[in-house]
């Protein structure tokens, strides 16, 4: 099998999922790239069974706000799903419709939002926007429960336009006001308090008596608009397609400027954005059709290692690589905190703007967390994924230091590194001489050390 095929498939699976083992990559290559893209877009594998998690970790059903482990179930889902793009899109939408437990204070409500992303994340964008407008966690997060016919609150209306659809520069302050008026009365029913018997679900409620039925003028159109009319108008605006296209490019292809700068900094690849924008519009806001254009494009295939991994990608991708995380064992709560230690507290973004991505993921503290976590994982030779790498090396027999380094780089990606980086790895490997399997423990230890060095590389931080 050509190494380039493996490398391209590995690139696809890192971006459209959270990576894949070498065994999985080889099987996927047999199917062919385009067929795999279609499988990712139209998964036939069964979704995970939430009751498997409840069976062993019952606290994850309606987790309390403290001690901040509400993402445990989602982490388990990301690692073990057989529908990887569906889950990656769930993460994508969580980046955009960033809603946090710091204010909502109910992990279960944000979990419900995550479920909605999982079920509708590759469907129609307009339907998704409508789902967000009716989502109780979002309503509370952006104060639409305080948006009344005679006392308008503009928080949801503003963010709908600024962060969820068109972006700054495409509407006026009057549009924000009129948009917000249209969403008056979109709220949720009172629910039972969390004490003394645990959490209960919120339910969306439309209160006609609290809706502003007056005439509104929004983006040049006038009428007695309600919220769903506003969403229709927003989706028809060309800026929305371009905005979503740029988000997709930033998340799946290559790091862009941070969202607030999009008004002044042009896209990295205008042609790519145009292609995605056209696909979005021509398909009637169909996310799946837009993703198909993205994953089969040359601009995507040529963008290997052009993106810094998010902390979620680091943690989930590493766990998939090393294996052994299928069973929801004790410690999964602590595991779910690892992305937070690297700067991405899942279900608790820093603000409605979500996380700043790309190079902003990295600082001295978060980098150390990344390296410590990944080195601990690949250094654990009891993990099945690590054993598989060791086994593949062993099957090659005794190899010289150069081959030893090259095989490990290949099995860990394949990972492209500069000649200087490769030389540094060689400086470590050469003094040990050939990898000799006559002493199995010593050879395994050397493999483990080299794998730990590889995950410490700058190159491993890129997807």
């Amino acid at each position: 099998m050509a190494n380039q095929d493996i490398a391209l498939m590995a690139h696809l699976m890192r971006r459209a999922g959270f990576g894949a083992t070498r065994e999985e990559l080889e099987a996927l290559c047999e199917k062919g790239y385009d067929n795999v893209v279609e499988e990712l877009l139209n998964p036939t594998e069964e979704p995970l069974d939430r009751f498997e998690m409840m069976r062993y970790q019952p606290w994850t059903w309606r987790p309390g706000t403290l001690p901040g482990m509400g993402a445990a179930e989602w982490l388990w889902w990301m690692v073990n799903t057989r529908r990887p793009l569906e889950e990656k899109m769930t993460l994508f939408w969580h980046h955009i419709f960033a809603t946090g437990v710091s204010k909502v204070d109910h992990y279960d409500e944000i979990q419900n939002m995550i479920t909605l992303f999982r079920e509708q994340g590759m469907g129609n964008y307009k339907e998704l926007l409508l789902g967000m407008a009716k989502n109780p966690a979002m309503i509370y997060w952006l104060d639409n429960n305080d948006n009344h016919a005679h006392a308008v609150n503009e928080n949801w209306g503003r963010e709908l336009l600024e962060l969820f659809s068109m972006g700054v520069g495409n509407y006026t302050e009057v549009d924000v006001r009129e948009c917000s008026r249209a969403f008056t009365g979109w709220t949720f029913e009172a629910k039972l308090p969390r004490g003394p018997l645990g959490r209960h679900d919120w339910r969306f409620e439309y209160r006609p008596d609290d809706h502003d039925n007056g005439e509104k003028t929004f983006l040049g159109e006038s009428g007695n608009f309600n919220g769903d009319d506003i969403i229709d108008i927003v989706c028809q605006h060309p800026a929305t397609a371009g905005f979503i296209a740029r988000h997709l490019y930033n998340f799946f292809v290559a790091d862009e400027a941070q969202v607030p700068a999009w008004q002044v900094i042009p896209p990295v690849d205008e042609d790519a954005i145009d292609a995605l924008t056209d696909a979005f519009i021509e398909s009637g806001y169909d996310i799946k059709a837009t993703l198909r254009v993205l994953f089969t494009s040359d601009f995507f295939k040529n963008a290997r290692f052009a993106k810094l991994k998010s902390p979620a990608e680091v943690v989930v991708g590493t766990l998939k690589l090393v294996g052994g995380a299928g069973f929801p064992a004790p410690g999964i709560g602590d595991l779910s905190r690892q992305p937070n230690y690297m700067g991405q507290d899942l279900l608790n973004p820093p603000s409605v703007e979500g996380w700043h991505t790309g190079a902003e993921w990295i600082n001295s503290g978060s980098l150390m967390r990344r390296i410590n976590f990944t080195a601990d994982m690949v250094g654990d030779t009891s993990r099945p994924g690590v054993q598989s790498i060791v086994s593949r090396l062993r099957s090659q027999g005794d190899v010289g230091p150069e081959q030893f380094v090259d095989i490990c780089l290949d099995l860990m990606g394949p990972l492209d590194v500069s000649s200087d980086t490769r030389q540094e790895l060689l400086d470590h490997a050469v003094p040990g001489g050939s990898l000799n399997w006559s002493n199995e423990d010593a050879a395994t230890e050397r493999v483990s050390e080299l794998l730990q060095l590889i995950v410490s590389l700058r190159d491993y931080q890129y997807a």
Binding site: F51, M54, R55, Y56, Q57, P58, W59, W61, R62, P63, G64, P67, G68, M69, A72, E189, A190, K191, L192, P193, G195, P196, L197, G198, H200, D201, R203, F327, A329, P330, G331, I332, G333, D334, R337
Partner: protein, 356 residues
Amino acid sequence: MLTQVAAGRTYDFSHSVGRGAQSGMGFSQPVAAAQGPNGVVYVVNRGSEGISNVSWNRIGYGARVSQITIGAEWGQEEFLGEFSKYGDGNGEYIWGSGVVVDSQGRVYVSDEWLNQINVYDQDGNFLNRWSTVESDDGREHGTASIAIDADDNIYLTDGRCHEVRKFSSDGKFIASWGSQGSDNGQFNAPWGITVDQAGNVYVADHRNHRVQKFTSDGRWMASFGTPGTGRGQLHLPTSVAVDPEGDVYIADWSDNGQHPGRVHIFDAEGAFIITLVGDAQELSAWAKLTVDANADYLKRRREVNLQNMESEWRFALPTGLLYDAEKGRLMVVDSQRSRFQIYNKVSGYMVPQMNL
């Protein structure tokens, strides 16, 4: 319906006991309960994970065994004390999963992660512990639940090895049966287990959506329920209990999207009788203490419409059943609501006339 009449039986909701609490008067993810000879009820709280910033400080919240008594009516329950905590030392557990009390009043608590049983005296003082795994056989084990017979033999389900194992009360292996599959006598993730007065063993075959009945040495006798979420059908059964008349009670996790959990009642021959869905429309005495102490809770509860109250009185993922033969009542461990829901099996119930 607080009172249900079917096939000559009457099940009358009595009251609920418990509230969410990480210690003291209440429970935290209770998963199993057993009653001692003096009426003391021992409740295994699974609890939840805590943050572990340092390797020696791995913690769990709420994991402990509660000792309570449950009176005949609302408000008569008493908190007696609690013992054990999260950990792997003597008398501690990581994943508490089951509890039984032997003829001498000794309390046995199983650990689903460490695969061992801690034994305590009736006051919760640690006596000893023994492994539920005979030897390192290379398989992943999970001691899901335990039961005890009149001779103090301990039966346990292993949900990850798909088998039942039988031990003496001091941990000597006696027998095992079952393997993964769906034929009679096979299991898929077995969970709840109980022994009836004749010594027969009943197993909640969780992922096969049925309950199987065996003789005490593992010979298959019968199967209860068919897979599904309809009337008399089982979906992810978690626990089973049998009353002195031979009626079989099965808790499951059937999910209508909002309220996961029911209790199905079958007669001894496997004929379906009736289903309970939970009826705790009145707060338990301990829960009422919490609400009465919080003015905002009181106000908000008065704003909630009837439809949204339903999630409070229905079962939520029940995982334990305990039949109190002396008082003739079924106690459902309503795990996610941190309480018991208690139903009296009423004899001689007089049905009121219909034209009232």
